[in-house]
Assembly symmetry: C2
Homo-oligomer: 381 residues x 2
């Protein structure tokens, strides 16, 4: 049921001809209230798509009544004409749903540098009919190279969360990543939504780095209808939201373009959480290590070469590395034979012990495969 | 003739069984003087191989009489036993050539985390017979996944430069990159050698970023014999050295693992040279853009998405991008049709006009190909 699982939401997903396949490519989510509290985090890429520029303004007051999302075109680097498409689309949604255009968020995903057809966008919005069971269609309509929809729900005490997500390439966040819409019928004010969403994304989407490439269109949006009439304890709400975001992040990882392994790079005993994140991210961006994993080679030297590029606190000759439970490097020297590592399962666990403190973090990434190269060389996206 | 082109140098390359192929894997270069001035730049990776640790000490006084290099093993993350191999090898070279062990530099390249066989190293050094025509054999002996030797010579007014280089993967410098030995018979003091070498590497090897992965073993060494008796003007020497290093950098680029395109990312009108380098490097590290080039897709959106991740000064909506002479993006909007770009030649020129100042820089990189994934997944290196 995705975003329509919580009370107070209607959604639609329809095909308006943006995708050459004829699949659904326009999603509309309507928060029918009574509350319209909202929060969002955006890509930190300075090359921001037109819908990002619009949505950052629209969310500034902490309210949103609807969000419209299209696949089949990023509407990025499309100039004033591209911004006009966003504006007109928001106006059309406002007219269709009887809300203010300033309360309509807009997201786009697809190829950069191509104009969206305004006529199709407007006709699509005019014919969209959001319903309380439209969540699954909406989740399909935001997909690009994803092989399957990503949705999640979570239950609170009399309230719930629902979500849909897309993202299979350009998975490397500066702040948030990919397109995600999360809904709740809990009664939570905008500042609380914002704080909970920032913390949840910090430890979930921000720690997913599949291919090191940061998108221009990323947006994670949280809409609260208050329809349950229940005001959860802030900690309960934050915990449920973080769990939901981690669930979605793992779904995105497992469907990343061309990947054959899901790699969790866990860094422990770091001097700070930032150090642990920096180390994990450096390993997650090593093409050589990621290609080795694809080939079934537990090449821990490539892990340490990546760790050595960071500014994290550690002694290169104290460090331990395990791969899938085998201690291949102990105190900077060869440990168990690399042949003992089994890389045939899809899940790979790299454990890096910096022996420099008490903090830890896990970065999720994927291997570098022939299919990744194929998907990203054969098709414009 | 490589490193034995200038007067005052003898070299040898021999097979001592480190490579499973039986090819040459030990190189020795002897500076027969009269001067032994020397300079070197090293990887900035904090995971430094044992030979790097040794050579940094040995070069500290600005003199070196010999350099010994092996392929077939990096001697990195091999602990105290690995350092002992370096020490013993330097002592053996010193005994063989009648020089001080403290004047012997050591370089290694190959798989991280495996011990080098000390007996073979010592027997190899004992049987090495450096001669004035041994430069080509030495150049072959330092290769790993390189498909061909890289050598260069340059002529001054009565003096000359010679060089050999290896490097095909882990091509991303923090300071220097790969293994390079440069010789000259000019009479140049160590501080001048050091200054000239740092400036030459800064604008050559430091601007080659093939795969974003920084090696643990990189060393660029410059040895001066003074055998010509000529003391060139500092500017003449620096210019010739920089030209030689650029020549070698381009040779390394054109032989990078699995590459099918040599990409020059030129950033112009930057507010500073550092900005231009940062922008070029961000594009050079975009797997998505590099895969697109492999596929013949001039995907300029991926260029701009990478530029947007930098802290360089620019207005995202003022920027121009040309690919192979076609202005695909003008002032942040679509320009000429992307179909007009011909990506069939191996050489690709990406021109990014930041319109923010007067500085420029070019970063050399390669595309991301099936062969890159294959080479780095199928073989430990």
């Amino acid at each position: 049921m995705s975003v329509t699982h919580p009370a107070g939401f209607a959604a639609a997903g329809l095909a308006i001809g943006l995708k050459s396949t004829g699949a659904e490519d326009l999603a509309l989510v309507h928060n029918t209230g009574p509350s319209h509290a909202a929060a969002a985090v955006f890509t930190s890429n300075r090359a921001k798509a037109n819908p990002i520029i619009w949505s950052q303004q629209a969310i500034a007051d902490g309210t949103a009544a609807a969000i419209v999302l299209n696949s089949g075109g990023a509407n990025c680097y499309t100039g004033a004409a591209g911004f006009q498409v966003v504006h007109a689309t928001a106006e059309a949604v406002a007219a269709r749903l009887g809300v203010s255009a300033g309360d309509v968020l807009v997201c786009s995903t697809g190829l950069i540098g191509e104009q969206l057809p305004l006529d199709r966008m407007l006709a699509g919005v005019a014919s969209a009919d959001p319903t309380p069971d439209g969540g699954d269609a909406a989740a399909r309509a935001i997909l690009t190279t994803d092989s399957r929809p990503k949705t999640a729900v979570a239950e609170g005490d009399g309230w719930s969360l629902g979500a849909m997500a897309k993202g299979a390439g350009m998975l490397a966040p500066g702040l948030a990543t990919m397109l995600v819409v999360i809904t709740t019928d809990a009664d939570v004010a905008a500042p609380e939504l914002d704080a909970a969403l920032r913390e949840a994304t910090r430890v979930s989407f921000d720690r997913l780095d599949s291919d090191g490439c940061m998108s221009t269109n990323d947006q994670v949006t949280l809409l609260a209808s208050g329809a349950s009439g229940i005001r959860p304890a802030p900690d309960d709400f934050a915990r449920a939201l973080t769990g939901l975001c981690l669930d979605l992040a793992r779904q995105l990882q497992s469907d990343a373009e061309g990947a054959s392994h899901d790699i969790a790079v866990e860094t422990v005993h770091a001097a700070s959480e930032d150090d642990a994140v920096e180390v994990g991210r450096a390993v997650a961006r090593s093409n050589l290590f990621k290609a080795a994993v694809f080939g079934g080679d537990p090449n821990w030297g490539r892990v340490l070469a990546a760790v050595g590029t960071t500014a994290a606190e550690f002694d290169p000759y104290a460090i331990d590395v395990s791969i899938n439970g085998v201690a291949v490097c102990r105190a900077g020297e060869p440990g168990e034979p690399r042949d003992a590592v089994d890389l045939s399962p899809r899940a790979v666990h790299v454990l890096i012990d910096l022996k420099a403190g008490g903090d830890s973090a896990t970065i999720l990434t994927n291997d570098l495969t022939h299919d990744y190269v194929h998907e990203n060389s054969a098709y414009s996206s």
